[in-house]
C-alpha cells in the first residue's frame, strides 16, 4: 500500500513550527502557512473580520505597496491563495523551485508585515460588500448561508466567513489591525513546505525569511478554542423556505450538527457517507439522479471540524420534485441506521473506493501540504494517513449502523429550500414537519 510522503518536523531558529515533505517531480514548490484561526474566531458581533483581515494581507507591507507585492509575485510566476474556513486561515504560495527563497520572502511579508492602509481597507471592504450583495441572487450561496445560520444559532460556526453587510460596513482599519495583532500570530502557526527541493534547501530558504520574524502568541481569548464552544441546543425539525419566484429548481440543504474530526467514529462516518451520498453510486444519487432524473447530482458530507461540524445533504432539484426529494433524503437518513442497513456489497464498495483511491490524493506538492495541514489543524497523530487504510478496512456493518444511529438525525434536521414558493409551499406544509419559516433572500444574517 502506498504511504504518505515522509514528513519531517522542525522549528526555525525563532521557534516557528515547520513541516517539510520532499516531493520530487516537476520543478514546483508549494508553501502553506496554516494558522488555526478562522471565522469562528470573529469577535462577537463582528462576523467577517477574520476574512477581511486575511483578504488585506496582500495589499502591501512596510517595503512594498500592494501593486508592488503583486508585481513581485508575477515576476516569479507565483500563485497566492487565501483560504478562510471556520477553523483556520491558510495563506499558500506555489512557485517554481528556483524561486523558492523569493516566494518564501514574499509570503513572510504578506503574513507578518501587512500595512493595512486606510484606503485599501475601504476598497477591499467595499469589494466584499459587493460580493455579499451578489450572493443574494445565487441560490447555492443563499442556501449555504441560511443553513449554517439556522443549524448553529448563536454559535461561532453560525455565520459565513464573509460576514454580514452590517458588520462589514462598520469595520475600520483599527479593527483589522487589532485582529491581526491579537489573533494572526506566528506562535500558533505552522509553515508547511513540499516540492522538488531537499529538506535542507527548504530549511535554508525558510530561515532567510520566516526565520527572521518575531514569533509570539496571540492575545489571550482572541482565538476560539473549540472546547469552549457552547453546546448547540437540540433543535426540532426546522423547515426554512427562501422564496425565489419562478425558479426552475430548488436548491436544497438538509442536515444538522454532527461530529468533530476527533470523533472515534471518523472512519465509520467516512464509510457511511460514501454509501449514503458521498460518491456517484451512492444511494441518494442513484435514486434522485439515475432513477428519477430529478437532478444533475446530489451529495452528502460530514464536515468534521475542530468542534462538531455539520452533516449536510446538498443538491439542486427540479422545482416540482422538491418535496419528494426531501422525503427521500429524510427517509434514507433514517433507514440506513434502521431497516435498510448497509449490505456487504455496499460496505465492500465503499471501503475499496476509499482505500484504493488513497494514493492519488498525494500526487502533487499542493495535495501533500494540504494533507499535512489537516493533521496539524486537527492535532492528529503523524501516522494518521498510514493508518487510514487499515482503519477503514476495520469498519464493519455494525459499526456503520451504529455511526448512522449516533450521527444522523432526520427527526431534528434543518431543511432549507431556495425555490419558488408558489410551487413548493403547499407540499412543504403537507410534509407535516411543522411550521415552514419564510426567509427573505435579501436579508443577510439579520
Amino acid at each position: 500500500m502506498p504511504r504518505f510522503p515522509v514528513v519531517r518536523d522542525g522549528r526555525l531558529s525563532n521557534g516557528l513550527a515547520l513541516k517539510i515533505a520532499e516531493h520530487p517531480g516537476p520543478p514546483v514548490v508549494t508553501f502553506r502557512l496554516m494558522m488555526p484561526v478562522g471565522s469562528a474566531s470573529d469577535p462577537p458581533g463582528s462576523p467577517g473580520l477574520a476574512a477581511l483581515t486575511a483578504d488585506l494581507l496582500d495589499e502591501g507591507n512596510a517595503d512594498r505597496t500592494g501593486l508592488e507585492v503583486h508585481a513581485a509575485l508575477d515576476a516569479i510566476g507565483a500563485r497566492l491563495g487565501t483560504e478562510v474556513s471556520a477553523d483556520a486561515t491558510v495563506i499558500s504560495l506555489t512557485t517554481l523551485s528556483r524561486y523558492a527563497s523569493e516566494g518564501l520572502a514574499l509570503l513572510a511579508d504578506i503574513v507578518a508585515r501587512p500595512r493595512f492602509d486606510d484606503a485599501d481597507v475601504d476598497r477591499v471592504r467595499a469589494l466584499r460588500r459587493s460580493r455579499l450583495r451578489q450572493m443574494r441572487s445565487a441560490p447555492s450561496a443563499v442556501a449555504d448561508r441560511v443553513f449554517i445560520e439556522t443549524v448553529y444559532p448563536e454559535h461561532p460556526y453560525g455565520h459565513l466567513g464573509v460576514g454580514t453587510d452590517e458588520s462589514l460596513a462598520g469595520f475600520t482599519r483599527a479593527d483589522v489591525f487589532g485582529f491581526h495583532q491579537d489573533a494572526y500570530q506566528l506562535g500558533i502557526a505552522t509553515l508547511i513546505a513540499s516540492g522538488a527541493l531537499t529538506h535542507d534547501q527548504f530549511v535554508a530558504s525558510a530561515e532567510g525569511s520566516f526565520g527572521k520574524l518575531t514569533v509570539r502568541q496571540p492575545t489571550k481569548g482572541a482565538v476560539a478554542e473549540p472546547m469552549c464552544f457552547n453546546d448547540v441546543r437540540a433543535l426540532a425539525t426546522n423547515v426554512v423556505l427562501v422564496d425565489r419566484p419562478g425558479a426552475v429548481q430548488s436548491e436544497l440543504r438538509v442536515g444538522h450538527v454532527a461530529a468533530a474530526r476527533q470523533t472515534p467514529d471518523y472512519h465509520a462516518l467516512r464509510v457511511l457517507n460514501t454509501v449514503l451520498g458521498g460518491q456517484f453510486v451512492s444511494r441518494l444519487n442513484q435514486v434522485l439522479r439515475e432513477e428519477k432524473g430529478y437532478t444533475y447530482g446530489v451529495h452528502t458530507v460530514f464536515d468534521c471540524r475542530r468542534a462538531p461540524g455539520p452533516f449536510t445533504f446538498q443538491g439542486s432539484v427540479q422545482a416540482d420534485a422538491t418535496v419528494e426529494s426531501i422525503r427521500e433524503v429524510l427517509g434514507q437518513m433514517v433507514s440506513i441506521g434502521g431497516d435498510r442497513p448497509v449490505v456487504p456489497a455496499e460496505l465492500d464498495l465503499a471501503q475499496a473506493a476509499l482505500t484504493r483511491g488513497f494514493a492519488r490524493g498525494f500526487e502533487t506538492a499542493g495535495q501533500v501540504v494540504r494533507g499535512i495541514g489537516q493533521l496539524v489543524l486537527h492535532e492528529l497523530p503523524e501516522d494518521s494517513y498510514d493508518r487510514f487504510v487499515p482503519e477503514v478496512e476495520a469498519v464493519d456493518i455494525g459499526g456503520v449502523t451504529a455511526a448512522a444511529k449516533a450521527h444522523l438525525h432526520a427527526d431534528r434536521a434543518t431543511i432549507v429550500v431556495v425555490g419558488p414558493a408558489e410551487v413548493v409551499g403547499p407540499g412543504l406544509d403537507a410534509l407535516g414537519l411543522g411550521e415552514v419559516i419564510l426567509v427573505d433572500a435579501l436579508t443577510d444574517g439579520e
Binding site: P2, P24, P26, P27, V28, L67, H70, A71, L73, D74, A75, I76, G77, A78, R79, T94, L96, R123, A126, L127, R129, S130, R131, R133, Q134, S137, A138, P139, R244, A247, V248, Q249, E251, Q279, F280, V281, R289, E290, E291, K292, G293, Y294, T295, Y296, S316, Q318, D348, L349, A352, A353, T355, R356, G357, F358, A359, R360, F362, E363, T364, G366
Partner: protein, 436 residues
Amino acid sequence: MMDFTKWVLDNGLEVIVHEDHRCPIAAVNLWYHVGSKNERAGRTGLAHLFEHLMFEGSAHHDTGYFAPLQQAGASLNGSTSCDRTNYWEVVPTNALELALWLESDRLGYLLPALTAAKFENQRDVVLNERRQQYENRPYGLALMALMAAVFPSGHPYHWTTIGQTEDVQAATLDDAHEFFKAFYHPGNASLTVAGDVDTESALELVRRNFDEIQGGPPVASVVADGDRSMPRAEVRILLEDRVELPRLYLAWRSPRLFGEGDAGMDLLGEVLAGGKTSRLYRALVLDRQLATDVSAAQGSREIDGWFCISATAAPGRELAELDEVISGELNNLADAGPEEIELKRGITQIEAQFVYSLQTVGGFNGRSDQLNAYNVYTGDPGFMIQDRARYREATVGDLRDLTATQLLAERRVALSVVPTGAANRALAGSVRAEVS
C-alpha cells in the same frame, strides 16, 4: 518534457503511452473528435447528452460505468466541448486493464445496451444540468447570447454545448444511435495511457482490448462557413437577469487555436486582466473603483476563436462608465502596444502555467489530457514544445497590431446583463437578446 510513444492501430485508433513512475497510479484518457460543432440545427446539445449515455453501461457490462471503477479506487469523469468529448479514469496501477476494458466495451458495444429508459432518464438529468448551471444561475445565460451574436447563424459555434432546451427535449433514441455510428469509432479517437505503466505492456493491454473494434466512416471536417468578417457592425444586446449588479461583456471574433495571432491574444488577455497588476484591474477596480471584477480571455477553438472582456459594475456605477475605460485602454494598446514589462509578465505567467500543468498525470488538463489535446488538434502529441515557443516569440509590436486589427469597436458584440426591470441600465441602443 513529456516523453511518449505513439502508434496507430489498424482500426485507426491513435494510442499514446507516457511513463511516469512517481505515483502508483495510471491514467486512461480517451478523446473522441466530436463536439457540439458537429451537431445539426434542431439537435443542439446532442454531443453532450451522448456523453452522459456513455456512463450508463454497455453490452458486456450493463450495470452502470461508475461502480466497478469506484470499487477499484478510481476517479473518473468526462466532458464535452464544442470540439471534442473526453473521458478519463485515474486508477491504481493494478486496475489499468479494468479501465481499458470498460472503455473498449463502451466504444465497441454501447448500442445493444442503450435502452429508451436510460435515454429518457439522462435527458431529464441533462435538462436539470441546464437548469442548475445556466437557467438558475446569475449571468448563466450570457454565454448563449454571446455565442449566438459573435458567431453568425450557420456557424458551428453559434450555439453552446448544453444546447437548446427544445432540441434536447426533441432528441430521440434513434438520434443517439446515429450519432454513435457517425462519431464513436476508433478512427475518430485518441487514447492516452500514462503514469506508472511500462510502455510495451501498456500497448499490449490496449491492443488486447481495442484491436477487435471495427473502424468507422471518416468524419468530415467541420468548416467555419459563417462569414469571417461578421459581425460587420457593432452589435449591442441586453439580457435582464436575476442579478444584483450589471455586467458588461465585450466580445470579438479572434484567431483559431494555434492560428496566427492566437498566442498573442492569450498574452493580451494577461496584459488586460491577468491579476491585480493588469491594466484593466488597475484602471477599473483599483484606481477608479468602477468595477468589482474584470476578466479578459482568448477563447481558442479548433476552427475559429473569440475574445471576451467582462467586468461587473460596482454598486452605483453604470456600464457606460466601464465601457469608456475599457475602450480607452484598448485604444492605448492599439496605438502604443503594452510596455515591455507587461509583456514579460504575461509570458512569465503562461510559462509558469505550463510547468504547473505538468504536476498531474490524469484528469482534466493532466499530462494525459494534454497529450491527447495536442495529438487531436495538431497530430503531434509533443506539440507542447512549439506551443510554448509561440509565447516566447511574441513582441510588443505583435500585441499592438493584434489589438488594432482584432479588437475593433465597430466589430464588437457588447452584451449588457442587467437586473430584471432595469433594461435602461444597459448600454444605450441595446436590443433584447433571444435566449432561454
